[in-house]
Amino acid sequence: MAARRIELMLCTGTGCVAGGAFRIKQALEEEIARHGLPDEVSLVATGCNGFCGQGPLLVALPEKIFYGWLKTEDIPFLVQEHFLKGRPVQKLMFTPPEKKEPIPLLGDIPFFNKQMLLVLRNKGLIDPEKIEDYLARDGYAALEKVLTSMSPEDVIEEITKSGLRGRGGAGFPTGVKWKVCRNELKTPKYVICNCDEGDPGAYMDRSVFESDPHAVIEGQTIAGYAIGAAHGYIYVRSEYPLAIKRMQIALDQAQEYGLLGENILGTGFSFDLEIREGSGAFVCGEETSLIHSIEGKSPEPRQRPPFPAQVGIWGCPTVINNVETLANVPIIVTRGAEWYSQIGTATSKGTKIFSLVGKINNTGLIEVPMGITLREIVYEIGGGIPGNKQFKAVQTGGPSGGCIPNSLIDLPIDYESLKEVGSMMGSGGMIVMDEDTCMVDVSKFFIQFTNDESCGKCTVCRDGSDALLEVLTRITEGQGMSGDMEFLEELGLAIKDGSMCGLGQTLPNPVLSTLKYFRDEYEAHITEKRCPAKVCKNLIAYWIDPQLCQACLICHRECPAESIYGEKQMVHVIDQNKCTKCGTCLDVCPPRFSAVKKLSGEPVPAVERGIKVERKKKPARPEQEKVQV
């Protein structure tokens, strides 16, 4: 390929595609052609860049100038100014909230410069649909090294020494798992890549598939070599169509190049991979359940031992690893266990990808070394909480994890410390919650989730989650009773003890951890019938402050329940009996007035109809106010 002076790395991960990345791509191609630049400027459609909150986005190389929130209208200007005339366009650059100066360079943006990229080393730098790009970034060098100079035992030894632990949640040492499987006498053996990723709020596995599928293939092939398997499965959830498509392309290319299949690279080692899709069941992420799902059996977990490494799919020894675990393997092999084990903490080595989402300024995927503190993640990488709200908690580990409160913000993140505070690593979702999040509501949400997803095999898990849900629902509806909290705790511990698989054993965690750290919120719900975050519908009321209402009629018009009295010049009044508490009035009330209030735990002051509006100053034609929802 000819030399170029600019390469545009346009993110085409699911997030940016939803934001219109393919339209941007087309516009860029047209504009570049129009200016006669195709020989000088090239466009690469990469996988997820990570900074999903800024999408659709692109990075212009070689300077690495970062442009976010692109719109098709911006493209002609951008191409002419920057790519033709060399004047980077400030208004499209990233500007941190509450600051004025944009940060042009990707490397200077705090979201990026605090990260450490091992697994995501190729993110935003290669076209995931081109094997050549992966090769150019030393792709398949690890496989080459393994096949030419290492015995399977050497590989296992190296992985063991590196201290790599499973990224699927439990953190089981990967080398040990491989060794157990290798030592089994029964053949054939299998390797399964677990990309079921059912944790709501986590999407790093999807992102790895979409941005660097070959890294997973390479890691899985090495795993196959290490344990002596000739066949493997990639289990992906069907909610990820783009990931499935890119992985299939990558598999086809690897097969075409002979990096998969018979006699790989002429070394005599044969290995093949096949994609199997899940169909939307959280429990299928559990390894024994996943195996049943592929086999076409009823996808319920079974008792372990025997572990899948001993008796797995089709009754044969099977290694199941998470996507991220496998993607770590090539870099450990190329750079050595020694190097890898220097990263991280004493017990947790390497890096971990988190999806930093929720009430946070910079949403996206981040890869950070183990042992980083929550504070660094939330305030430095994440850029704090939007709208100057108060940070309340971070939820990690999905439905199996717990909420870590503000008071523990200096906690270093690794497997053990998270467990200690009653949460867990899980697959790496990190959902930030602010003062507007009700912790009782959140724990109800998680129990609803696990209650839905429980396969129903264990009584304590199936019926216990029902009982938890019932009590939590009652509390959020203002029907809480004294003794409820103690009951939740006792039942939670019983469910932990009595369940067979990880789903049941961890299902009470969100309840137990919120009870531990946010007991006052439960108490407010139960005794004062008040929801401090003003979320629980039965405990709140919407009310229009007669002092602030300027009679703009917007809420009167927008209310779907037609519960707002309003006339010109007259203070609007919400009919509490008709109000469905949908919150539309609060959304549409112009921020200059902010007359709609949420009340909780206090009587709603009665307001007469027909009070004249108190005009502070004449609002400028409020009827045509453009309302930001």
């Binding site: 030399a3 190389l61 300077e63 690495k64 033709l84 090769l135 080459e144 190049y257």
Partner: protein
């Protein structure tokens, strides 16, 4: 396509690496072609093309070619600035594609500035 052997894989990788050097991010120097309206009118596009051609032919990987706006000396366009690491930048004016090739050979590859076309050494900002 036939399956690869080890050697072929290495060859393929080396070839692919040529295509992505811009992404590796380590550069020894930078050629900035000034592309204001004046520059483009005077033929700056041809200069860029010439530099890129040379870059490809020589297989150099650690030089970036970029553009910037008008340098404020419109009468001397097309112009280019060459910034090599640890040496003061050199501005060249009234370039032609041939001159550009010469600069590439002598300054970028050879390491000595081409005094004949140089307008000045160092940046006016003193950076």
């Amino acid at each position: 396509m036939a399956k690869l052997t080890l050697d072929e894989l290495r060859k393929k990788r080396a070839e692919a690496q040529k295509g992505i050097y811009l992404r590796e991010g380590e550069f020894r120097g930078k050629i900035i072609v000034h592309m204001g309206t004046c520059g483009i009118a005077a033929g700056a596009r041809g200069i860029v093309a010439a530099f890129l051609e040379e870059l490809e032919r020589s297989g150099t990987k650690d030089i970036m070619v970029t553009t910037s706006g008008c340098a404020g000396l419109c009468s001397k366009e097309p112009m280019a600035t060459v910034e090599m690491l640890n040496t003061p930048p050199v501005k060249y004016g009234e370039l032609t594609p041939d001159k550009a090739r010469n600069i590439f050979k002598e300054h970028i590859v050879g390491g000595t500035a081409v005094a004949a076309y140089a307008l000045g050494m160092g940046s006016e900002r003193g950076a």
